[in-house]
């Protein structure tokens, strides 16, 4: 070991302890600063940082609520949630994605589009997130995937819920359909609930599904999950179950609805059956219809084009949205207005020579030769037009219009369906306001027989008939109960009209379908206690020129379909104790007595018997024909399982 000499204790030597202490002091100060910083962050700001840490790790995931189901009045299911199967893939579990997809496509049909889309999505998203490979997969395909699970790593069959309408066409117009939330939907809502942003979440698009969205949707639940920095869910912390949507029970009778749809099949037509007492809508059919399930799945372009290009307009809901000139079915209103105004009594007569001259213009009766002397009863029974021209001119349009409103025409009825039309019961003020022209007496003549400006929907005609039958302001009701809670009935107060006058009208309507010579005599009901009172209507959709009238009016059968008259019929039964009112409109069907009355009668009997009526209820002459018709409709009415797009492929 080398020895060394002690060094002189110079100035620098003396400085060392001092400098060491200075440096030590600086270090101590810095350590103190660190401690203070730590205290500031961990004691004073701890709560803020704790919150940030919680925000980091906790994600809130919504649990979509189960949509409320829709039942008919007897508990038959109309709208339900059925399991829908899809196949998802988790990239990190799959290993070789291409190889697994190749194997999978040997088992189930996968289009190259679907594969490309899924692969692109997989590249974008985190490896542990499931990506949908195939949606709306059949149970058979799901089973195949499940059986082959060991050969398909990362491929998972998933069960979700989707809306399904087991009654297919029957309720398309009433219930509507649901579909995934679109960007447009979101833009229409001021403050969209977060649940709407769940992928594939379905909301009501049209009809009851849309109008009762609030009740049907329910409340979303939420679960709090802990996620790591890459977003992978580590565990579920807690969950708060949502609230399922409310189940709705409709006033509609699914079997009657189905019968009405089947009975209207082949025509472009609508029929409404309403309970005269409670206003319960027992059937609201519109033909032709469509399968709402197609829209839930996302309708193909070809299917959609077929629906929009059909002359009979299957997508239009003719029963509440379609408005038609009510034609002669309006005559009850004109008569009531005249009776109430006192300008005519039930036994006063008018002479009908076949036309009436109003100003310089000739208004024709539908019967060329005229009806001769007619009173109220005969005028309705034979549907004489001149009688109504005459009394209407004496009553004035404003009183007629007001009477129409009392009976629910020109008034929008509040039922939860899409595009419920208000119709039109015009008066002088209306024409002045809308057309800027003064009301002419000729307009009154047209209105008196339900032509001209007058417009009504089948629903309004049904309500009108129910009000005539009971003398009460019956309101239509579509939803009977929400989650078992009975909704207010549609029974109304007595109308502000004289019951005696109303009785005259009812009697005349009875004559229409029960007296020989009545326009609906051929469509009468034989059963004594169920006899029907009604009124036919035939509303023109074209003008008949003078020349044509001179040469003889062209028969409907000889005209192209879209220029033929609309056929209408309104009725109530039983006459003595009205239970149901029925309104039928057959677009371009020709005469009301021929095209509409038999349909209304059949639907009425179906409603009265709550099923297929016995042949004894029909006139003897018709029974053979009816028997055949019943057999045919019975066949049509069996619920059909429809093949899906995928099955066909």
């Amino acid at each position: 070991m080398k020895q060394r000499k002690p060094k002189a204790q110079g100035l620098a030597y003396k400085r060392l302890p001092r400098r060491a202490l200075i440096l030590g002091g600086l270090q101590a100060a810095f350590i103190g600063g660190l401690a203070a910083r730590m205290r500031f962050m961990q004691v004073e700001q701890a709560d803020e940082y704790r919150l940030l840490a919680e925000e980091n790790r906790i994600n809130i995931r919504l649990i979509p609520p189960t949509r409320g189901r829709i039942y008919d009045r007897n508990g038959e299911i109309i709208g339900q949630n059925s399991p829908s199967y899809r196949i998802v893939m988790v990239r990190e579990d799959a290993g070789d994605v291409d190889q697994v997809i190749a194997k999978l496509s040997e088992l189930i049909p996968l289009t190259s589009d679907e594969i490309e889309r899924a692969k692109a999505e997989m590249r974008r998203s985190a490896p542990f997130l499931p990506v949908t490979l195939a949606d709306q997969v059949t149970w058979a395909d799901i089973s195949k995937v499940a059986v082959n699970a060991p050969a398909l790593p990362g491929v998972i069959p998933e069960v979700g819920q989707t809306r399904q309408y087991p009654r297919y066409e029957d309720f398309a117009h009433v219930v509507g359909y649901v579909g995934p939330v679109s960007d447009y939907d979101l833009s229409q809502i001021a403050d969209p609930e977060p649940v709407l942003r769940i992928p594939r979440f379905q909301i009501g698009k049209v009809g009851l599904e849309a109008k009762q969205e609030g009740a049907l949707r329910g409340k979303a639940g939420a679960k709090r999950v802990e996620v790591n920095a890459t977003g992978r869910v580590m565990r579920e912390l807690d969950r708060q179950e949502g609230e399922a949507g409310a189940d709705l029970q409709l006033s509609v009778d699914a079997d009657l609805q189905q019968y009405a749809q089947a009975r209207l099949a082949g025509e472009s037509a609508a029929a409404v059956v309403i309970d005269c007492e409670t206003g319960d809508l027992r059937a609201i059919s519109s033909a032709p219809s469509f399968d709402p399930n197609l829209f839930v799945r996302g309708i193909s372009v070809a299917d959609y084009r077929a629906l929009t290009q059909d002359n009979y307009r299957p997508l239009a809901n003719k029963s509440v949205q379609g408005t038609y000139p009510p034609g002669s079915t309006f005559k009850m209103i004109t008569a009531m207005a005249a009776l109430e105004a006192g300008v005519v009594g039930p036994s006063n007569t008018v002479y009908c020579p076949g036309h009436l001259k109003v100003g310089s213009r000739r208004f024709h009766c539908w019967k060329r030769g005229g009806h001769g002397t007619v009173d109220l009863n005969l005028s309705l029974k034979r549907s004489c037009d001149v009688y109504y021209y005459d009394v209407a001119l004496r009553t004035g349009i404003d009183k007629i219009s007001e009477m129409a409103r009392i009976f629910g025409l020109g008034v929008k009825h509040d039922i939860p369906m899409s595009a419920v039309a208000a119709g039109l019961a015009p008066n002088q003020e209306w024409k002045e306001r809308v057309h800027g022209q003064s009301w002419l007496t000729g307009d009154t003549a047209n209105a008196s027989i339900g032509q001209g400006f007058m417009l009504a929907s089948p629903l309004q005609l049904a309500v009108m008939t129910a009000r005539i039958a009971t003398g009460r302001a019956v309101k239509p009701r579509l939803v009977r109960s929400v989650n078992g809670v009975e909704q207010p009935s549609g029974a109304g107060e007595p109308l502000a009209v004289s019951p005696t006058n109303l009785e005259f009208i009812r009697k005349a309507m009875f004559a229409v379908s029960n007296d020989r010579g009545g326009t609906a005599y051929r469509s009468r009901i034989i059963a004594d206690d169920l006899r029907m009172a009604g009124k036919t209507g035939t509303s023109q959709v074209r003008n008949i020129t003078k020349a044509e009238r001179a040469a003889g009016v062209i028969r409907n059968e000889d005209l192209p379909w879209e220029r033929r008259d609309h056929a209408l019929f309104v009725s109530f039964a039983p006459y003595d104790n009205p239970k149901f009112a029925v309104a039928v409109v057959v677009e371009h069907g020709g005469g009301g007595s021929k095209a509409a009355a038999p349909v209304a009668r059949d639907i009425m009997l179906q409603a009265l018997y709550n099923g297929t009526p016995p042949l004894e209820a029909y006139p003897v002459a018709d029974r053979e024909k009816i028997k055949e018709q019943q057999k045919r409709l019975e066949g049509d009415r069996r619920p059909k399982a429809r093949p899906t797009e995928k099955d066909r492929a």
């Binding site: 100035l11 401690a35 580590m234």
Partner: protein
């Protein structure tokens, strides 16, 4: 009787040396390392692998190295100083050409059983060579310009190589440690004042030149400096780490969230949680109490080093002990400032706690020198 003869006589020999070791310092080092094992166990999700167990093995090795170094008399280490410095320079040059690239920088020499980081070795070697230099230099020459220039060059050579790796953090530590040692050695304060004034002036000039026609740096270089100084301007890049680190630290609160209950580290929000950011995990799981405890242990290590340095009459012993303590201080001070958001992220590990072999081994060897100075101090 010469001074040293006296000294040698009073110095313990053989295994008696163990009794004269600075045992409080040894115990403090073991405590700090144990805290490290605990945190490495925690960040691995309650597992001894992959970090805690190798770390314990290395610490065992480090402890052995410390004892061996401690038993060798301090003047041997003084005589080895220049050699150690030259070898370290050689290693730095070697790593420049043959080093393993990691984290975007050439820093390691792969020795097979461990990775050697020459810059770590250099930190100690620089302290040794400067201490030896001032031990050798006659006192009255200390502040003469020529004799000041020599240590400056000794500092700048390794700094240049480390900066080239590039490892800005370590090169700043080298500069600071070198400067600190010169300050301790008694170089006139005017030199330090001049250097500090020059640096401040330079920085001010560079920043003032921004946007003028005599701009000294390119725009992108300025932007890089901006991000470096204030990571919040780049919240998803450099800022993300520091933000998550602060959240973890702050959310620890007074008592912490409990051992292995730290959500930020367990759910991977923390970057580099087993190395540079391990203090954050400790502060998250043991809170203010845990953080202050570790800080106190570190401070006590400094205190015992200071006591050793002041109680010896040997100049080399004093300077090398204080230099090593300063190095140690810079290590944890920079690391903690970084994770608390007080300093830019410069990749400096937490001494004795962060996972990493060569740093700990070199540090234990350095403390071996401190122990040697303590045992062999002239009394």
């Amino acid at each position: 009787m010469s001074y040293l003869e006296y000294a040698v006589k009073s110095t313990p020999s053989g295994f008696r040396k163990f009794l004269y070791m600075n045992w409080p310092l040894t115990l403090l080092l073991i405590s700090v390392a144990s805290a490290g094992f605990l945190m490495l166990y925690s960040v691995a999700g309650g597992s001894w692998t992959p970090w805690a167990e190798p770390q314990m093995e290395r610490f065992g090795l480090g402890l052995a190295v410390m004892f061996i170094v401690a038993l060798v008399p301090i003047w041997f280490w003084r005589n080895m100083s220049v050699l150690a410095y030259l070898i370290s320079i050689a290693l730095l040059v070697f790593v420049e050409f043959f080093g393993t690239v990691g984290m975007g920088a050439q820093r390691w020499i792969d020795l097979g059983f461990m990775r050697l980081q020459p810059s770590e070795v250099m930190k100690v070697a620089l302290v040794m060579v400067l201490a030896a230099y001032y031990d050798w230099l006659p006192s009255h020459k200390t502040s003469r310009p020529l004799w000041v220039l020599i240590p400056v060059i000794l500092v700048l050579i390794p700094t240049f190589f480390v900066l080239k790796q590039p490892d800005l953090g370590t090169s700043i530590l080298l500069l600071a440690a070198g400067g600190g040692l010169m300050f301790l050695a008694g170089v006139h304060w005017a030199y330090f004042a001049a250097v500090i004034a020059a640096v401040v002036g330079l920085i001010a000039t560079v920043f003032n030149s921004r946007g003028t026609d005599w701009q000294l740096l390119k725009d992108y270089q300025f932007r890089r400096i901006d991000t470096f100084l204030d990571p919040s301007t780049d919240p998803l890049g450099a800022g993300y780490h520091i933000t998550q680190s602060k959240i973890a630290l702050g959310s620890g609160g007074w008592n912490g969230r409990g051992f292995m209950q730290g959500t930020q580290s367990r759910l991977n929000f923390l970057p580099e949680k087993h190395t540079d950011f391990i203090f954050t995990t400790l502060a998250e799981e043991f809170g203010f109490v845990g953080g202050i405890t570790l800080l106190t242990l570190y401070a006590l290590i400094l205190v015992f080093c200071l006591v050793t340095a002041l109680s010896t009459k040997d100049r080399f012993s004093s300077l090398v002990t204080l230099g090593i303590a300063l190095n140690f201080f810079l290590f944890f001070a920079v690391n903690m400032s970084m994770v608390m958001g007080l300093a830019p992220v410069v990749g400096v590990p937490l001494p004795m706690v962060s996972y990493g072999g060569s740093a700990m081994l070199v540090l234990m060897a350095a403390f071996g020198i401190v122990q040697s100075a303590h045992i062999h101090r002239p009394r």
